[in-house]
Amino acid sequence: MGAYLVRRFLLMVLTLFGMSVLIFVMLRLVPGNIADILVDASGADPSDKAKIAHELGIDRPIAEQYVSWIGGLSRGDLGFAYVSERPAIEEIAPRIPISAKLAGMAVLISILLGVPFGVISAVRQNTGLDYFLRVISLSGLSLPSFWLGLLVLMASVHWFGTIPIYDSNPHSFLEDVAMLGLPALTVGFRSSALIMRLTRSSMLEVLRQDYVRTARSKGASNASVNYQHALRNALLPVVTIIGIEAAFLVGGLIVTETVFNIPGVARFLVEAILWRDYPIVQNLVMLIAFVVVMVNFLVDMAYMALDPRIKFAD
């Protein structure tokens, strides 16, 4: 167990290191840098390009730039944003809670919708209800989140005559929840489809097990077999999907924050990419990779704690 943890931890560090190199090199392949954009946008003299590039330090060799970035990162110094010229950490930090809140609500919604409907679908396998729920969940996977977001905006205009506008200083907790509710529903619906499909297939597999048949033959009621014997074991694999969902959610957040104009990290990433704001992009990408890798690690640990049959070899 101890050796497994150490190995797993080292792999995580290796993955994140590899990601940092990959992202750093990829961003520097971009044709045109911030100096070009600034000069083009302001109509300044093209000879200023070299000066701007020198000021921002992007005329140094790539390896040198990389070492200086990683060195800073290890001390908690993320460098300066090119566009706002403020420390990157000051730009990124306030946006994290917004995205985290949205993501948390989306996960909650996806579990609240996905698990019960997945169970119903499995218990009523091959009935009209099952087919209906399966089509709904599959359509959840097929709708682009940004379109779903636009439809929600449209419905809001139709019924309330207005579009929900994000307010960074909500007056109450309730207002905060209400404001993020619609975007969270948009992101969560897609993830709930994934959870529902997995809950259904996992429940079906458990319902075919011998111990379930034994319970039935002992005269246990349907409800007792389905919910006391089967569901508890069927939910185990559902835990793993939270790891997959973390990656899934980030994709949903990027477009949903854009549609609803929410100033979270995901929308900021797109803005920074369009502006070639390297310090922001590379730090945000590392943050996303860290979250995904960490969630997967925690899910593995949770799985091991929940399922006594699983023992990782040392």
Binding site: I23, L138, S142, L150, V292
Partner: protein, 297 residues
């Protein structure tokens, strides 16, 4: 006592299904949702291939007079702010989606298969390094990876295909590798080696064809994801550039501001994307049931 009707059981299992027509009928009866998916996908491919004939006008021709025209007999699905016919744009958009979807899936599959086959077959250090590289690539969500790649390559049709194909590689490579690992220990591989067949030939002629079933299932699922990612990239302004009629791009132009004034610009491109991806997902589920019975639901 239960009596087993052997004839009926055999018919249900498709024992006497021969010829294309009866195969199609059998598939439709057994997998009605899959058949619906197949029809949607066929319609999508048909529209993409014959877009020039189906579309009534050139999707890029503008006419300020008809800016934001509502759906009518002249413009079936309305017109955008430049007066371009939405129906024609959506029909031609199918071509873009198919090109990017199939292109990215195909390219991702070719690279993924080569890497997975080599990794599983050669094993050792090569396998270890490749697996760690794939770990790194999978640490980022598909869309984030595609966004960064698309931004670093610049907006164009070819670059969008590439930006989506590369993030798809790890999944393909992992599936092929895991099948290859078990296949290379099979007696038929040993037999091929015993008759003096070269390793490369064994890998390509004997191991690869046996990994196809899970690959077809994966490819169908990836076609849907690739279409969705293209739409998202174009929506964010990082995918297909103007004047190409990309479904995602149409939604980005028409986004929040047209929600009030011209809802048809928001509804129809979204329906096109959702329906197409829905079709590939339905078909993919049915194919998985047929080709990968272990995962049958």
């Amino acid at each position: 006592m239960a009596v087993i009707d052997h004839e009926a059981e055999l018919a249900r299992a498709g024992a006497n299904v021969t010829g294309w027509l009866s195969r199609i009928i059998f598939f439709t009866r057994r997998y009605p949702l899959g058949a619906v998916g197949a029809i949607i996908v066929a319609l999508f491919v048909f529209t993409a291939v014959f877009a020039d004939i189906i579309a009534p006008v050139d999707p890029t021709s503008t006419n300020a007079k008809y800016s934001l025209a509502a759906p009518s007999s002249l413009f079936w699905l309305g017109a955008d702010f430049m007066g371009r016919d939405m129906f024609s744009r959506i029909v031609h958009g199918a071509r873009i989606s198919l090109a990017v979807g199939a292109g990215a899936m195909g390219l991702g599959a070719v690279i993924g298969i080569s890497i997975g086959l080599a990794s599983g077959y050669l094993g050792g250090w090569f396998d270890l390094i490749v697996q760690r590289l794939l770990d790194i690539m999978q640490a980022l969500p598909l869309l984030v990876m595609a966004i960064v790649m698309a931004a670093s390559l610049g907006p164009s049709l070819k670059n969008t295909i590439f930006a989506i194909a590369i993030p798809l590689v790890p999944t393909v490579a992992r599936v092929v590798r895991s099948s290859t690992l078990s296949l290379r220990e099979q007696p038929f591989v040993e037999a091929a080696r015993a008759v003096g067949m070269g390793e490369l030939r064994i890998a390509v002629r004997h191991v690869l064809p046996n990994t196809l079933a899970p690959l077809i299932v994966l490819a169908t699922a990836q076609l849907g994801s690739a279409i969705l990612v293209e739409a998202s990239l174009s929506f964010l302004g990082l995918g297909i550039p103007e004047p190409h009629p990309s479904w995602g791009r149409m939604l980005s132009e028409s986004a929040a501001e047209y929600v009030r004034t011209a809802p048809w610009l928001v509804i129809f491109p979204g329906v096109a994307i959702s329906l197409t991806v829905f079709g590939t997902n339905l078909l993919g589920d049915a194919l998985r049931d047929i080709l990968d019975p272990r995962q049958r639901s």
